[in-house]
């Protein structure tokens, strides 16, 4: 699993690629936590490069979404592939999180 950071104005974009499975499940939680620690309260997670995510990865995103619930905070997802989107829908994430097809779409609706 690889991570790449990009800043666009107040928006902190985290591009995640690879599989988020049991061996790397802690990493997104730590990275997201660190990003929030650094004062980035507007987070865009680009999952276009993620081929699989397991329950531990989902819980890390859920925990991050919960931490960004104050006024002005945002936690947005984008770039979900077919399989990953299916997992997110099954877990009910599509009902609680803002999800856009591409990074551009997410930023234009920000």
């Amino acid at each position: 699993m690889d991570l790449h950071y990009e800043k666009q104005g107040d928006i902190q974009i985290v591009h995640i690629t690879g599989r988020i499975d049991s061996t790397k499940a802690d990493l997104p939680g730590k990275v997201i936590g660190k990003t929030i620690e650094n004062g980035n309260r507007q987070l865009l997670l680009d999952l276009s490069g993620v081929s699989y995510i397991n329950s531990a990865g989902l819980l890390a995103i859920l925990a991050a979404a919960k931490r960004l619930r104050n006024p002005g905070d945002r936690c947005v997802l984008c770039g979900l592939s077919g399989e990953v989107r299916g997992i997110f829908e099954l877990a009910g994430f599509t009902k609680i999180l803002e999800i856009y097809p591409m990074v551009g779409d997410a930023i234009s609706y920000w």
Partner: protein, 327 residues
């Protein structure tokens, strides 16, 4: 006295099933023992290495069945006062013992079969006649017990019943292999190579024992080591967390394990400090009821928490940074 209400409810509901399980396993034990004695006589008279190996294997299986019955008897008589979390681990351990016994039998059967291949012997036809009768009874009874245990296991999952129906399936097929080997040895006795039918048939039993023993151990060992629930159940927990997303302030982790047929889930959540305890309790009750109704035989505990849940060597849920932030 149990401190977990759900456990008491579960015990009341399970009483009839438990008694039925105990009765079924006891019946298996009696049938096994009754059939074992003439089996020993037939094996000695026939001089068949497959029969001999089958006798040793049956002896081990009787021991495993006795152990399973003993556990169920303990459960049925009620020792819940001393075991607040039930006797799930005993059930799992019984399964592991059953699997281990199968693997020990495998080594024994393999060794005896190789010895007979190295030094082939002709079977005693008069002894084989008794063996044929015994094996025919064995195939019939074990098939009946296999199907009976399978139906109970399908109705309600339990490691004991799961290992029992697999055990009787193995026994039915291994008896059939012995029966076939004996018939072929008699029918084809005029051919020089017929002496190898008996030891080679033992290899079929080796295969059955390996497959079943491995399956039973590999499915029970993770539960004994408190492995977290599989992904399908984890997703069900997440579904509940998303359903109640607006009811809690922060998610600090989840941990789960299986104990026998019971499932234990602990969810660590932070609630709004301004809310009344009764309001928080109402949310907890709703979450607990929702998840317990969806995951069979589960006991869900929602722990109001202000920090990450910790397990040895790992921080579950929120990050160490979050922990420092709270402190």
């Amino acid at each position: 006295m149990s401190h977990v209400p759900a456990m008491d409810e579960g015990s009341i509901v399970d009483a009839a099933t438990l008694a039925k399980k105990e009765k079924t396993v006891f019946l298996s034990l009696v049938v096994d023992f009754v059939l074992w004695i003439p089996d020993i006589i037939a094996a000695i008279l026939a001089g068949s290495i497959t029969m001999f190996a089958d006798v040793v294997k049956c002896g081990n299986e009787i021991l495993a069945t006795f152990f399973a019955w003993l556990t169920l008897r303990k459960l049925a008589r009620g020792h819940q006062g001393a075991y607040d979390y039930g006797m799930g681990k005993f059930e799992t351990m019984t399964s592991i013992v059953t699997g281990a016994v199968m693997l020990v039998s495998l080594i024994l059967v393999f060794y005896t079969a190789i010895s007979r291949i190295m030094v082939p012997e002709v079977l005693n036809i008069s002894g084989v006649a008794l063996a044929l009768v015994m094996m025919t009874i064995g195939v019939s009874v074990n098939t009946w017990l296999w199907l009976k245990n399978y139906r109970i296991a399908c109705k309600e999952y339990s490691p004991i019943m799961e290992s029992q129906w697999r055990l009787f399936r193995t026994k039915a097929f291994s008896d059939l292999s012995v029966l076939s080997a004996l018939i072929l040895s008699v029918v084809l006795h005029q051919f020089w190579w017929s002496v190898y039918i008996d030891p080679f048939a033992s290899m079929i039993i080796v295969g059955f024992l390996f497959t079943t023993g491995y399956r039973v151990i590999s499915s029970s060992l993770p539960d004994l080591l408190d492995k977290t629930l599989d992904e399908s159940l984890q997703i069900m927990i997440i579904q509940d967390l998303t359903e109640f997303f607006d009811e809690y302030e922060a998610f600090h982790g989840v941990r789960s394990r299986r104990s026998g047929s019971n499932v234990y889930i602990e969810i660590f959540l932070e609630f709004d400090g301004d809310r009344k305890m009764c309001e928080v309790q109402e949310v907890i009750d709703r979450m607990k009821t929702s998840l317990e109704s969806r995951i069979q035989k589960s006991s869900v505990t929602i722990v109001p928490s202000s920090g990450p849940c910790r397990i040895p060597g790992k921080v579950v849920g929120n990050t160490p940074e979050r922990s420092r932030e709270i402190n």
